[in-house]
């Protein structure tokens, strides 16, 4: 399949014109809506706590609240900053707002955005990629809303009637997903795929870095390697 056929979804407009459309019609609105809905959500997230405190008069004493917060912050803290920066280039602007408002990034948003762009035949990081990725992640939010509501109502009953083998098979869902997405991107650049694993396996095995730094080191390390190889014209046409 030729490159033109593979990227059948790309618009014929010149890049400068596309960027102009994005910078006047797209990004300003996305950033405005993204900021407003995120700040509203930052309040909504505390509604269960506020409800318990105001209506039922229950709020943990501050020493317990602080202790609990430190417990979660020490685990999640690094990811608050690392994840938005690491994943932005793939999620795009709209995708980043949705992902950090409604979660499930590596297990759903990244694969959905990537598959939508692959099927639609657009290039990652292009204006078309931004729009297609956004549409894909919007769709994933609708499916998530329906499924989580269904799960909240029925999950215990449904899981009870599942044969044990089927239930157990869900333990392998994420490993299978990691394989699928690695295959998709490995096809795009097999050499970089081999390099990434060749660096990552010893890195993780040796436990030389704290676990929360492994993803950012791999993400930025691979970006630098890609830039160097490209600039030097190694393996890729400049």
């Amino acid at each position: 399949m030729s490159k033109e056929e593979k990227y059948w979804g790309m618009s014929p407009l010149p890049l400068e014109e596309k960027r102009k459309i994005m910078n006047t019609e797209y990004f300003p609105k996305i950033h405005m809506y993204g900021l407003i809905t995120s700040l509203i959500h930052a309040l909504i997230i505390f509604l269960p706590v506020i409800y318990l405190a105001l209506v039922h008069g229950v709020f943990p004493p501050w020493d317990i609240a602080v202790k609990a917060f430190i417990g979660i912050a020490s685990i999640a803290g690094p990811y608050w900053v690392i994840e938005p920066i690491s994943y932005f280039a793939v999620l795009g602007a709209a995708g980043t707002y949705i992902s950090f408002l409604a979660g499930n990034i590596s297990n759903m948003r990244l694969p959905v955005s990537a598959v939508a762009q692959e099927v639609a035949g657009v290039k990652e990081g292009s204006p078309e990629g931004e729009i297609i990725g956004a549409i894909g992640i919007v769709a994933s939010q609708w499916v998530l809303s329906i499924i989580t509501f269904a799960a909240a109502l029925t999950v215990t009953a449904v899981v009870e009637i599942m044969p044990p083998g089927v239930k157990k098979a869900f333990d392998w869902l994420l490993p299978a997903l990691w394989g699928g997405i690695y295959g998709q991107f490995g096809l795009r650049n097999p050499r970089l795929a081999v390099i990434a694993l060749a660096i990552c396996i010893p890195l993780v095995y040796s436990r030389i870095l704290p676990a929360y730094l492994e993803i950012p080191v791999m993400v930025f390390g691979m970006a630098v390697i890609a830039i160097v190889l490209y600039k030097k014209g190694i393996w890729v046409k400049k």
């Binding site: 593979k6 979804g9 459309i21 996305i30 950033h31 809506y33 959500h41 909504i44 997230i45 269960p48 706590v49 318990l52 229950v58 943990p60 609990a68 417990g71 979660i72 999640a76 938005p84 280039a89 707002y97 979660g103 590596s106 297990n107 990244l110 598959v115 099927v119 657009v122 990652e124 990081g125 078309e128 990629g129 297609i132 549409i135 894909g136 992640i137 919007v138 994933s140 499916v143 809303s145 989580t148 799960a151 909240a152 999950v155 215990t156 899981v159 869900f170 299978a176 997903l177 990691w178 394989g179 998709q184 490995g186 970089l192 396996i201 993780v204 993803i215 390390g221 830039i227 890729v236």
Partner: protein, 243 residues
């Protein structure tokens, strides 16, 4: 008679909060879809492209959502459906995060994370921990995302080929770490081969399916590759090593 904390956790007010949480995320997604559609039309994207992307996204999200469905079991069992709905429809955290937050909150309040022994104070502490531990993502994502496009363009120097290559490299970087930690390390450290089998099956299925779709010149076939990779990966791992 169920205990007081459970009555409150399952009250209509908590379900209402769930709908408000989900609703805000839905409003955001609808606003974004409108902006994306309009900009897409101005860019000259074919309606066919948008339709295929939407279709592919629905099919692809289905697999991970089923995983989330099953993953919600411990959360529903421990704290009831309403709390699980509030947190999973649009509460930022993955199941893993929610369980860690719930554990951290329960521990600080000195209660076990089970229905027996849970108290109203325990529930309040858990809800506080879940909210206080995840709001940072919403604020950081909401406030700082506007500066990130410039960062990406700077990395790629405005060259679309290079920006595309960097995006591919970033995905390989992130997923090589997940593949290594979840698939390869259990095999090396614990001689557990099911995750690696699932991963390799998923990889082979994805690669073969994409190549087949390209060879047949039927790009729409790709809509199914991730769902197939997940289902076959799970099935092969379970049949060979599930026990």
């Amino acid at each position: 008679m169920p205990e007081e904390w459970l009555v409150i956790a399952m009250s209509w007010a908590m379900w209402l909060i769930g709908f408000i949480t989900m609703g805000n995320a839905l409003i955001q997604s609808i606003l974004f879809l409108r902006v994306a559609r309009r900009a897409g039309a101005k860019l000259g994207l074919k309606p066919e492209v948008l339709r295929r992307a939407l279709h592919a996204a629905f099919i692809t999200s289905f697999g991970p959502c089923l995983g989330i469905f099953v993953g919600m079991v411990p959360l529903v069992i421990a704290l009831g459906g309403a709390v699980a709905f509030i947190r999973e429809s649009a509460g930022v955290g993955s199941i893993m995060f929610e369980l860690i937050a719930a554990r951290s909150g329960a521990e600080a309040a000195g209660v076990p994370l089970t229905r027996e022994g849970m108290t109203l104070l325990g529930l309040a502490t858990i809800l506080w921990t879940m909210a206080a531990g995840s709001v940072e993502w919403v604020i950081i994502g909401g406030v700082f995302t506007r500066w990130l496009p410039a960062l990406r363009d700077k990395m790629g120097g405005g060259d679309p080929e290079l920006i595309s290559l960097i995006s591919v490299a970033i995905m390989l970087g992130a997923f090589s770490r997940l593949f290594t930690t979840d698939n390869i390390m259990p095999a090396i450290r614990l001689a557990r081969f099911a995750p690696l089998t699932a991963g390799i099956t998923g990889l082979v299925v994805a690669v073969s399916w994409i190549k087949l779709a390209d060879r047949l010149r039927k790009p729409w076939l790709k809509e199914y590759f991730m769902l197939l990779a997940i289902v076959l990966g799970m099935a092969v791992a379970q049949l060979l090593f599930g026990g």
